[in-house]
């Protein structure tokens, strides 16, 4: 198999095959003697030139991360043959900025009304989750264009709470 792997934004070309004696592995064309065993779901034991690594895989709805020791690496993996012609989407937004709920919870207070002037870092709403109240702050100086989630609204992680222009 040939994969395009991205680790923390850096691209690698990985060639990986299982053979009778173990594995054949080339990373960016460089042969690497290695062995790997799946210890259990999401846990690998990898040996590379005598060094032992326990690698944990963590999946959330949005991301794939691999932990090597105490370090967490953002990982993406593609089979280059199946993605021809696809374009990368961009989530960067200019102009209006959305405030999204960082976790599921309930809007307990709205601190600023629509059309109010807001400073960067000023609180706009208070969301309560797990008995803690958290102020959701404006990412920029501007005007509160819209309050999407009013007082008492139950919100999920990622829901838009308000828009600042």
């Amino acid at each position: 198999m040939v994969y395009d792997v991205t680790i923390d934004g850096k691209n690698y070309r990985l060639e990986l095959e299982r053979v009778d004696t173990g594995w054949e592995c080339r990373l960016d064309g460089r042969a690497i003697p290695m062995d790997a065993v799946l210890a259990r779901r999401d846990v690998l034991s990898v040996l590379i030139e005598g060094k032992a690594y326990e690698i944990k895989r963590e999946r959330t709805a949005t991301d794939l991360h691999l932990w090597v020791g105490g370090a967490r690496y953002a990982a993406e993996l593609r089979d280059p043959r199946s993605l021809r012609g696809r374009k990368g989407g961009s989530w960067e937004e200019a102009g209006p900025r959305k405030l999204v709920a960082p976790m599921p919870g309930k809007v307990v207070r709205v601190l600023l009304g629509e059309n109010a002037a807001v400073e960067a870092g000023q609180g706009i709403l208070v969301v309560e989750a797990m008995k803690m109240q958290n102020e959701i702050k404006s990412p920029k100086k501007g005007i509160v264009q819209k309050i999407v989630a009013g007082e008492g609204a139950t919100v999920n992680a990622g829901d838009v709470l308000a828009i600042v222009e």
Binding site: D8, R41, D42, L44, I55, A61, R86, M103, G105, A129
Partner: protein
């Protein structure tokens, strides 16, 4: 001795008490809300009864439902754990009225100590040193402004019924007071059903050191050494240890005797904790008494060799303490790390969700008190404490090195936790030197973290491919309800990693 104990709680503390019941040959009864049917405490108990909806007010805080479950099960005692009803004097009284033994102090003692304002008035009479402030709740912003001006800023607003940092606000000047008072009151009302808030002079960056006491119902009261609890975020304890790096035997004796004095003044029975603020000159001030078992009780258990939950049950059953103050010996050093479901990269916001992978540490000197298991979904409705990892060693350095080692073994996948924070604290030179106060953690978090070793990106790249070959099923995207993935990433996962 009791035959059957109902545990009016959930999470790790319910599991902790269930374990003690099993060890003592007592039948344990769990209660659970709708979202807790699959929780660990329900799995571990001998019996379990539903008590209603997720909202604590309709389940874990509801007297009728809990007393109803006790009646139905035929329990003869109730252990309240910590939080929820544990410091509710009316509930303790309701238990007594229903013919059930409440495992804790009497309603009268709780009433005296449980309201922080009333406790201040009583301790004032008993001549204990305490921090200047109001001994009554604040009725209006104007009254608060006057009191604050008299004492001098900065001041601390606190919920009279409070604990755990809920309903607590630091106020640096008069312009912040009104909104801080409103939010403290509303948070106190939500958390404790009581909006009473008082104020105290804020001693900037004190140490927070508490003394464990234990009193039987025959007049014997002892102290079991202190716990250093200065490492806090948002007034929520994060790491506790015993002994404190600054408490010498003489200071321990004075604090212990003061704590015993507090307990005696209140006619206190069972386990309790007297909290002190300690300034940089090692003067200590009475802060409050927590009339319950503390989250951090395991560190005291490890250095005294005593089981506090066993002792709570024996005391409640009317037995005498089997030792005196002179018999108590502290040995070694213990440290507890509170593992919370919260996101270190997002200002430590709560991070509930499904635990997809759980690797627990073990080995010498490691104790794990956990309320979770792999594939369980942490509900959004309750406190984000998942587990407590406690390290024990012959001395402080050994307990730290064992915890560092255990943190490397520990892995919780699928949700965010503060494990990385402990890796950082435990390796920090200031912490290792014992130079901590309640401002320590904020200072640490403001400083930039030491550059993480990221030399293994090549290994991660190889592992990504190995996973795709050996465990392709595991790469599909299973969890719902989260931020939208970019179309590109989603395609990568489905097409690139899928079988």
């Amino acid at each position: 001795m009791f035959k059957k104990i109902l545990i009016a709680n959930r999470g790790e503390i319910a599991v902790r008490v269930i374990r003690a019941c099993r060890e003592l040959g007592i039948t344990s009864v769990a209660v659970y809300s709708d979202v807790d049917r699959a929780s660990l405490h329900v799995r571990k108990a001998d019996e379990a009864y539903p008590i209603g909806p997720a909202a604590a007010a309709e389940s874990y805080l509801n007297f009728e439902k809990i007393l109803g479950a006790a009646k139905r099960s035929g329990a003869d005692a109730i252990h309240p754990g910590y939080g929820f009803l544990s410091e509710n004097a009316k509930f303790a009284q309701a238990c007594t009225d229903a013919g059930l033994k409440f495992i804790g102090p009497t309603a009268a003692a709780m009433e005296m100590m449980g309201s922080k304002t009333r406790a201040r008035r009583n301790m004032e009479k008993a001549g204990l040193p305490f921090v200047p402030g109001t001994s009554r709740g604040l009725d209006s912003p104007e009254q608060a402004e006057q009191a604050a001006a008299k004492i001098g800023y900065p001041i601390m607003l606190k919920a009279a019924a409070g604990g755990g940092g809920k309903g607590m606000r630091l106020v640096n000047g008069p312009q912040e007071l009104k909104s801080a008072l409103e939010s403290a009151k509303s948070e106190a009302q939500r958390a404790f059903g009581d909006a009473e808030v008082y104020l105290e002079k804020a001693i900037v960056n004190p140490r927070h050191i508490e003394m464990q006491v234990l009193a039987d119902e025959h007049g014997q009261t002892v102290y079991l050494g202190e716990r250093e609890c200065s490492i806090q975020r948002r007034h929520q304890k994060v790491l506790e240890e015993s002994p404190s790096p600054v408490v010498a035997p003489e200071m321990r004796r004075r604090m212990g005797e003061a704590a015993v004095g507090v307990a005696r003044a209140a006619g206190y029975t069972n386990a309790g904790t007297v909290e002190f603020l300690v300034d940089s000159d090692k003067n200590f001030y009475f802060l409050e008494m927590n009339t319950r078992l503390q989250v951090e009780h395991p560190v005291t258990e490890l250095i005294t060799g005593l089981d506090l939950v066993h002792l709570q049950i024996h005391i409640a059953a009317g037995e005498k303490l089997p030792f005196t103050q002179d018999d108590i010996r502290l040995r070694g050093h213990a440290m507890e790390c509170r593992i919370y479901a919260e996101d270190p990269d997002n200002n430590y916001f709560p991070s509930p969700g499904k635990i997809t992978l759980l690797l627990n540490p073990s080995g010498p000197g490691i104790r794990m008190d956990s309320g979770v298991y792999e594939s369980w979904t942490v509900p959004i409705d309750y406190d984000p404490l998942l587990a407590k990892l406690i390290g024990y060693g012959a001395d402080r350095a050994q307990s730290i090195s064992r915890l560092i080692r255990a943190m490397n073994e520990y892995f919780v996948g699928g949700i965010k936790t503060n494990i990385s924070l402990f890796r950082r604290i435990l390796r920090d030179a200031e912490f290792q030197a014992g130079r901590v106060d309640t401002g320590y953690l904020d200072r640490l978090l403001e400083s930039s973290p030491p550059a993480a070793k990221r030399e293994d990106a090549d290994v991660a790249a190889i592992a990504a491919g190995v996973f795709a070959i050996l465990d392709p099923q595991g790469t599909t995207n299973g969890t719902g309800n989260a931020l939208p993935a970019s179309g590109w990433k989603r395609a990568a996962r489905v097409e690139g990693l899928g079988s």
